[in-house]
């Protein structure tokens, strides 16, 4: 079934410029996705600025040559370079040039050069119920789940077409009836101490994504004081191990004042009682090796917030890390660290702050592999395939302590 375009949309699609190309692609994709129409969207987060090959650069430059401008506020996800420290990414000259051309093309279309996978912590926060078109799996999960705005999992190419047209195909999570939870996850068998700790949330997310996949679940029994960074970590890990675009947390996220409300007051199709054993299994699967060897630490997927930097500074406590130690973040946080005179002390402590990009999407890590330790479920998921490093998952404190001693040490007390 073709999408029914309005007269105005049809007139745009009939043109020969980039706006016409974007509208044609939207109409064709709408039909493929089963949408009957396009709907207006008010903001976009764009994932297409990361270089995977020359074709994506040619596509973006074709849009620029055709006069494309985004019609709505659009933030950029990470690129393939750290524009603040160009030498940090060890790309060959061709890749370096093309990655830069790609980033510049999106800027030329009027996208905000935020270069962050945490745009929602860089001031881009759509309101509850707002229709938007976001890419980047963790940003999509956060936007839908924590902010209650409505987007599908848009990705490379379709996100920029939505931003140029100011429209998106009306299907999936744009529609209220598709946002209801059908799976209930009961966490009452887990200890309060575990549920209060940061190290729990990426593990819960990794389990959730692998178990639930693209279905929508409501997690019941988490403390009401869950922080935004914990929800960010949960969503990022869930969206790495499964096609998760929306999750609910009863009493915490806006579409789940209660578990029953998130379920639309209907009985769940499936109830899962989460046990400590199931979570230990999920935690173990986040690591690919055992033992004491560690060669580097990477934090900040999604990009580190100012609050996460504070926790890191407290743990470092004036000492010096003894291993390559990377923290990935957005330039919005780098500017704030500089303004508060906190960047230099971090660098003097041996921390390399990476902006605009990250260690699993660009060649940044030293040497030819080894063992990387991280507190991020998303880094744990993507590190082996993308970097050649083995990975060990631990808490933020585990990562700092291990970087001090040069041996993997993990606090097991919460998991027993």
């Amino acid at each position: 079934m073709p999408v029914r375009l309005t007269d105005q949309e049809r007139a745009i699609a009939a043109g020969s410029d980039a706006a016409a190309m974007a509208m044609r692609i939207l109409a064709e994709m709408g039909a493929m996705l089963g949408a009957e129409r396009l709907i207006p969207v008010t903001s976009s987060h764009i994932d297409g600025g990361l270089y995977h090959g020359d074709s994506g650069v040619h596509f973006a430059e074709r849009l620029v040559e055709g006069g494309a401008r985004v019609a709505i506020p659009a933030t950029m996800n990470v690129g393939g370079l750290d524009l603040l420290k160009p030498d940090i990414v060890k790309a060959d000259p061709h890749r370096h040039e093309m990655a830069l051309r790609l980033m510049k093309a999106y800027e030329a279309m009027g996208c905000w050069p935020t270069w962050t996978c945490s745009p929602y912590q860089a001031g881009h926060r759509p309101k509850f119920g707002e229709q938007v078109a976001w890419g980047e799996s963790n940003a999509v999960a956060f936007c839908n789940s924590v902010l209650g705005a409505r987007t599908n999992r848009y990705g490379d190419f379709l996100d920029i077409c939505c931003a140029i047209a100011g429209r998106a195909p009306d299907y999936g999570l744009h529609r209220a009836e598709n946002r209801r939870a059908t799976v209930l996850i009961d966490t009452s068998a887990l200890s309060h101490a575990l549920k209060a700790s940061d190290v729990f949330y990426p593990v819960l997310g990794a389990w959730y994504g692998a178990e639930i996949g693209s279905a929508i679940g409501v997690i019941d029994g988490l403390p009401a004081f869950v922080t935004e960074d914990q929800l960010k970590a949960l969503g990022a890990a869930a969206a790495s191990s499964g096609a998760v675009g929306l999750f609910h947390v009863a009493g915490v996220t806006p579409e789940a004042p209660t578990a029953a409300a998130a379920l639309g007051h209907q009985p769940p199709e499936r109830i899962i009682r989460l046990t400590p054993d199931m979570l230990r299994g999920a935690r173990d699967r986040l690591s690919t090796v055992k033992g004491e060897r560690i060669d580097a630490v990477a934090l900040g997927s999604p990009h580190f917030s100012l609050e996460e930097f504070e926790a890191l500074e407290d743990l470092i406590d004036g000492r010096h890390v003894n291993l390559p130690f990377f923290v990935c973040t957005g330039r919005h946080v780098v500017a704030e660290l500089e303004r508060r005179r906190r960047l230099k002390p971090l660098e003097q402590a041996g921390v390399t702050v990476v902006a605009d990009t990250c260690v699993v999407v660009a060649p940044i890590l030293p040497g030819k592999g080894g063992v990387l330790m991280t507190n991020s479920g998303k880094f744990a998921h993507y590190t082996p395939a993308n970097t050649g490093y083995e990975v060990i998952y631990g808490s933020l404190a585990d990562c700092v302590n291990s970087a001090m001693t040069g041996r993997v040490t993990r606090d097991e007390s919460l998991w027993s």
């Binding site: 044609r24 692609i25 995977h52 090959g53 020359d54 074709s55 040619h58 596509f59 490379d156 395939a385």
Partner: protein
């Protein structure tokens, strides 16, 4: 013996080639090397298989939306499969083909054929795909 199957057309087109039947779902991003056109995930049962010119039969898709970009890159470099046969409607690979057409990199048919019917497509078999979504084996 000739077997005739009917897929649902997601992107129209005709093609002929040998079946490459994947043993497991795949994410093109992180699973297919856009430089060599081969399956690059060492944990995938079809590791090192070359996609070029094959009728790629996929039991499922997982992972990143950047898979559209990888398929576009394969099409730009003439390393793409001759056709895609997917188990469920899949907008991510379909998008890669739609963009490729806009960029004049050519087009390939994308058909949906549910997994039970994919059993009739054996790895290595020569098949012909018609614009109506028909798949003729032999």
């Amino acid at each position: 013996m000739t077997v005739l199957l009917q897929g649902t057309v997601q992107v129209e087109g005709d093609a002929r080639g040998r079946v490459l039947k994947l043993g497991k779902p795949i994410s093109f991003w992180g699973g297919v090397d856009p430089v060599s056109g081969r399956i690059s995930d060492p944990r995938h049962p079809n590791h090192q298989a070359e996609l070029k010119g094959r009728v790629l039969v996929l039991p499922g898709m997982i992972g990143s939306s950047s898979s559209s970009y990888i398929l576009l890159e394969l099409m730009a470099k003439r390393l793409a499969p001759a056709a895609l046969v997917v188990a469920e409607p899949d907008a991510i690979l379909g998008l890669g083909v739609v963009i490729a057409r806009e960029m004049n990199y050519g087009s390939i048919p994308v058909l949906v054929l549910p997994r039970p019917q994919q059993d009739d497509l054996e790895d290595g078999a020569e098949v012909t795909i018609g614009r109506d979504g028909s798949i003729r084996v032999g």
